[in-house]
């Protein structure tokens, strides 16, 4: 093989290797969008909003940008502005299903429940095979206290998409709360974790299932993981403290209950924490020096 042909072969190989390919530079709008997406994922919703707005100012009238802006606004509690952003996205693309679903949720949170329901019914009628509309339906029903309806809606979402992790978790959680469940929640909870192993809530729900069943080792693993992923989550911390108590780690449990008492705003959570705190104190358990 001559040197020339060897060089040519190497050049072809280099072009085929993804790492060797030259990346095409991103347009300024794409760059802005990418940065804003990163900020949104990191929980910096205000800065993300600014990023999306700047990208829109550059003249990129993309439905996705409006939808993402709506999400950033909704996260900050600016429900009205979020609704406007979702509507704009739908104006540009009337079949943008994510924006439609988000608009339903924003309308519901903004108090326009009937309108939200109308939008959702219409969406379910027009796209009967879209799983997440049923998931949203289940969520709204759950908020309204219709647990049976919520369960049926989440189950329909799973039927349409067996990998719908949120619906899987929600079915599991609803069955777990039910005094006489007609189905074991475990397959739903395990599948939800399988589809999204790093989701704190899914881990916590699975751990709580194990705890209620007296499977304390499994409960400690799952709730412990959830706590590691998100130590700020108070519900997870409450579960973690409870499990620690049951596995005999009372000193650690007392530390967690003390922290819950410090952080909790909810009276119900405070009452539970108080009860456990005094129960441990009353048994002579003291927090460690560290």
């Amino acid at each position: 093989m001559s040197a020339r042909s060897l060089f040519a072969a190497l050049a072809v190989l280099a072009a085929l290797l993804p790492g060797c390919r030259r990346e095409t530079p991103l347009a300024p709008v794409d760059k802005l969008e990418q940065t804003a997406n990163g900020l949104y994922a990191a929980g910096e919703h205000e800065q993300a909003e600014a990023g999306y707005r700047k990208a829109l100012e550059l003249g990129a009238q993309r439905p996705r940008l409006h939808n993402n802006l709506g999400n950033a606004l909704a996260r900050q509690g600016k429900t009205g502005a979020a609704q406007a952003a979702y509507r704009k996205a739908l104006e540009l693309d009337p079949e943008y299903l994510f924006a439609m679903n988000n608009l339903v949720l924003a309308l519901y949170r903004g108090g326009e429940r009937d309108l939200a329901r109308q939008f959702l019914s219409k969406a379910q009628m027009n796209w009967p095979r879209v799983s997440f509309f049923y998931s949203t339906d289940g969520y709204l029903r759950y908020l309204e206290g219709d647990r049976a309806g919520a369960l049926a809606a989440f189950q329909e979402a799973i039927r349409l998409n067996p990998d719908a992790a949120a619906s899987l978790n929600n079915v599991g959680a609803l069955l777990l709360e039910s005094p006489v469940p007609d189905q074991d929640p475990l397959p739903f909870l395990m599948r939800a974790i399988e589809k999204n192993p790093e989701n704190v809530l899914y881990r916590d729900t699975l751990g709580w299932y194990y705890f209620k069943k007296g499977m304390f080792a499994e409960a400690t693993i799952e709730i412990g993981k959830a706590f590691l992923y998100d130590p700020k989550n108070l519900e997870v911390r409450v579960h973690f403290a409870t499990v620690l108590e049951w596995i005999g780690k009372e000193q650690e449990a007392l530390e967690q209950w003390t922290k819950v008492l410090e952080l909790a705003d909810d009276e119900r959570v405070k009452r539970v924490a108080h009860e456990h705190y005094w129960d441990l104190q009353g048994r002579g358990v003291t927090a460690s020096a560290n």
Binding site: I158, P187, W246
Partner: protein, 443 residues
Amino acid sequence: MRYQRPEPRRNDSRAKDDKRLNWRLIRVSYFAVKIWGAILLLLALGVGGSVLYSRSRGTESVVGRLVSLARRSVDQRIALITSSPEEADLVEQRFATLTFVSGRVEIQRATDLAWKGGQDGMRLASGDRVRTFSSARAEVGFDDGNVLRIKPDSLIVIGDLTENVRTKVRKSSVRLLVSNIEADIKKSVVRGSQFRLEMPTATAEIDKARMSVEIRADKQSQVSVYSGQVDLDTGSQRVQVTDRKTVMISALKEITSPENLLPAPRVTAPRPLETFPSATGGVVISCAWEAVSGARAYRLEIAGDRFFDKPVVSRDDLRVTAFATPSLGQGVYHVRVAALDAQGRTGDFADPVPVRIVVDRQAPFIEIQKFVVLQSGRGREVLVNGRTEPGATLSVGGRPVLVDETGYFSAVLKGLAVGQAEMEILARDRAGNLKSLVQRVQS
């Protein structure tokens, strides 16, 4: 003599041959031979080492997993080529996990002839065998929540463990040789998924069931279904066994008609996740359950582990629906009850109830925030408030005072006896520890 004609040459390449390399004239330096020799030796050592390592560690090692992955991938491709178009969906292999081991439990990998000790958390793949020796137990958990509890002296083989990538339908099967198992098969999230138990003389298709199977050495099998539905098929006979029914399958593949099993009694005491504080370190737990019609007696088991591997209380002669345990020490316990029928067969066990006993030798605190003696026209009155341990009972001067869930108490006590100089405030916590405080009511 017959003349043999030469074979015609298809391509006269004599001219070309002349330009070919003459291998005999190539000279290779000794240094190059050494380098290449070293490279080849290293390569051979690496391959050999990897093979030995993977054989010693089975599929637990990274190399073993890579080998098994490659093997499965080839299997899948072969299955795709050989299957009909309807079956041409790609299937993914799944795993089961050994979730509990007690006593001598051994595993034989599908790719290995040697039996090795089973350990908690060990992954099991299709074709792996699990055997338990006498007084040993194991539990196999599947990724869809299904559980197989293997009792002593059993041998099982993990069969199919697949998921259809397109439809998400999962298929699991386990082959039971001489064994005694309990299975808790949960309704799958995806319709069409199935769990199959293969016995020597029949197969059991399960959609959702809690059941037990005992396969004896004479190949007779007893299948008991506590809840759910199991379809038995011997090839010549099909029988559906539903809630609380038991059948025998003979070695000649004959299934007896289903007989009734007793349902699980509902445990009313103790309550799930109840805590029993004790000042002495020992607690008598009062157990109670609802009567089951047709029960000759009840079996009650209390164990420190949820597998009831080593029960601390085990009674199967209880004729009444209540039982007070002997004094139990600090720890977590699981309580379960089943009814026994006229033939002495154990019915379905109620879901185990987890409880715990904690030692509390510390007396409750009493913090008096206000203690005021008032003199009115009707005599002396005491206004008292303060805090004590939540859950404690409190009395002031012998009169009970309500303590709220945060431990706060407040009361006005009227009609103090003339000449009464002191008043005792007595708190008793849930474990029975006492704390007493005396307050003066006369200046």
